[in-house]
Amino acid sequence: MTYAILAEGVAKSFTLYHKNQPRSDSLRETLSGSLRILGRRLVPGRRGLDNTVLEREEFWALREVSFTIRPGEKVGIIGRNGAGKSTLLKILSRVLEPSSGRIRIRGRVASLLEVGTGFHPELTGRENIYFNGALLGMSKAEIRRKFDAIVDFAEVEKFLDTPVKHYSSGMYVRLGFAVAAHLDPEILIVDEILAVGDLRFQRKCLGRMEQIGQEGRTVLFVSHNMNSIVQLMDRSLLLDQGRLILDASPTECVDRYLELNRSDDGSPSLSAKVDWIQEVRFHWLKERQEPGFNQPLFFRFSFLSTLPTPPITITLGFLNTLGARVSTCKVQTPKLEAGRHEFGLIVREHRLTPGCYFVKLDLWTDYEHLLEHDGACHIELFAEEITDPLLLKSSFRGRDRLGCYGDMELRRFASTAERICDC
């Protein structure tokens, strides 16, 4: 079988030192450490006393991770903090060496673990482009050839000969991404960099990533932004506690990831900002969802309150895969006694076009913000029978079918006077 990356049983361990065992990174400690060992050898009776001091713990950041990535595949890597994503990328980029296992990589790799690696504030934009390009693996001739394209992409022509310390942070990031975007690798490894720059530039970056994917290059992308994973990737790997727990489609992985987040601390609940609201549970009733445009959405919502509560406003925000909030709806509960409460939430006439959305849940009273959760759940709306030709057309445009869709009223003015009156 052909592959671009073939990982077999990759594992990585780090050695952790406990408080009573300082790292021997100063000479004195190493010397006194060796003296202590020598002392113990000479005085066998004292061995028990100090033995704990030299103990160290192994921490496995990655365990037995195996996967195959075929040429041209775009694979997202997701997982909670500390799941081993960055370690995996660093091993793939050869910054870290695995403790065991083997990875075979076919093709030129460019890894982009940071925007503007090696930029120096004193150097000009031009100088930094050359150095950063060389660092990312471009030859001098290649940088020279692509120089104009890079400058165009970054939109910094006017400031090329200004030291980058005078750049705005946006310009700095744009320049960094521009160099990276003009790499010509067969395999591109990207770590969470799209969360930078203004919205317009983010779209440009996403567009470039998509273009790289369409050119048949292999892309590996780590992100906490589930939206871009779902939107851009063909496949996804879900890591948790150093293990690869799911290798499936992005939507499956994102669902499972959100489940993992909910099941934090063993209980499937969202944590509130106040302590008298507990065990908040919120989920989408997927099984009740009818296929089709503008079908009602059903959610289940429950919590435990330890005090009698004033009316609570529940706000649901719907975020499209670019992270833009396209719709918001709200409802208010009556006053509630202390105890467990369970509600069904039904959203009719949401007018969301078919696609993936993230639901942001907020709870408010008149006085305080009780809860805020960005990815409370993730919904996917399918349209099987759309009769409206306009909607049909937009849904065929693939990834552009984002946001809401609705009717509007057409009013024709007979005269200027009428128009003024109307407004």
Partner: protein, 275 residues
């Protein structure tokens, strides 16, 4: 598209393609050195002038103290010329070692993000200091022309000693770069050793002042052989070639260089973690 070559990442196997990789990353090496030179002189207002002022001031002070006040022997050549020839390799050596002690830590942001043979970093640090070495040589040439002492045929041997100085500096830099990563306070050791080194090496004085019985030990310091060799190349009529010293120096240099590379490669695998 040509069949892409395959890279195998496996525990303990990173050394397999080391030298091939080093060659492949040679362009990055040029860029790194170029960048470091740019940075060094951009952060100062008078830039490269520093490379002239520093040795000049040192020469002035040493000539006054050791030549005029202490009246040490200069084997019949102008005392300032004696110091100048000593300062050229010493400033290169000391500057490179100082640079080496910080080189890897300063590039931590790059090392933890991008792969390249790490040994490029200390090597490029030495190359950066070649600029000052070059300035020193121009000063020497200017001095010789100005003093009309005449340029001897033995000056042709000067490049050999410079190569030796380069290799010695390279070996020490590689050792120090690795040691400073492993032991954070080795940096203090380096700056202290360099302070002492200035006095136990024949920089501000000639080896003529060293008693005959001690010379053999004195030349165990690899810099002694290089400096005296250079003085011989410039002033063959006044200073004799310390052949034993040069050979000792060569031997020690090769040992330091080879062991340094071996040690660095051992550390290198864990470098991103150690930083």
């Amino acid at each position: 598209m040509t069949q892409p070559d395959e890279v195998i990442i496996e525990s303990g196997k990173s050394g397999l393609h080391y030298w091939r990789d080093l060659w492949r990353y040679r362009e990055l090496f040029y860029f790194l050195a170029w960048r470091d030179i740019l940075i060094r002189y951009k952060q100062t207002t008078i830039g490269i002038t520093w490379a002239i002022i520093r040795p000049l001031l040192s020469i002035l002070v040493f000539t006054l103290i050791f030549g005029k006040l202490a009246r040490l022997s200069s084997s019949g050549i102008p005392y300032s010329a004696l110091v100048l020839v000593g300062m050229i390799p010493w400033q290169f050596f000391a500057g490179s070692l100082n640079e080496a002690s910080l080189s890897l830590a300063n590039k931590e942001n790059i090392i933890s993000k991008i792969y390249f043979p790490r040994i490029i970093v200390p090597i490029s640090g030495v190359v950066v200091n070649l600029v000052e070495l070059g300035v020193g040589l121009v000063m020497l040439l200017g001095f010789l022309l100005w003093q009309r002492t005449g340029i001897e045929a033995t000056l042709a041997f000067l490049p050999l000693f410079l190569v030796l100085a380069f290799l010695l500096t390279l070996g020490c830099s590689i050792w120090i770069a690795a040691l400073c990563v492993q032991f954070k306070d080795f940096r203090q050791v380096v700056s202290f050793a360099l302070q002492l080194g200035l006095y136990i090496s024949p920089i501000a004085y000639g080896t003529a002042v060293i008693p005959e019985d001690w010379r053999a030990y004195y030349f165990l310091n690899p810099i002694s052989g290089i400096v005296e060799g250079m003085r011989w190349a410039v002033f063959p009529d006044h200073i004799s070639l310390p052949l034993g010293g040069v050979i000792t120096s060569l031997g020690i240099t090769l040992c330091l260089l080879l062991s340094g590379i071996a040690y660095f490669r051992k550390i290198e695998k864990r470098l991103a973690e150690l930083l």
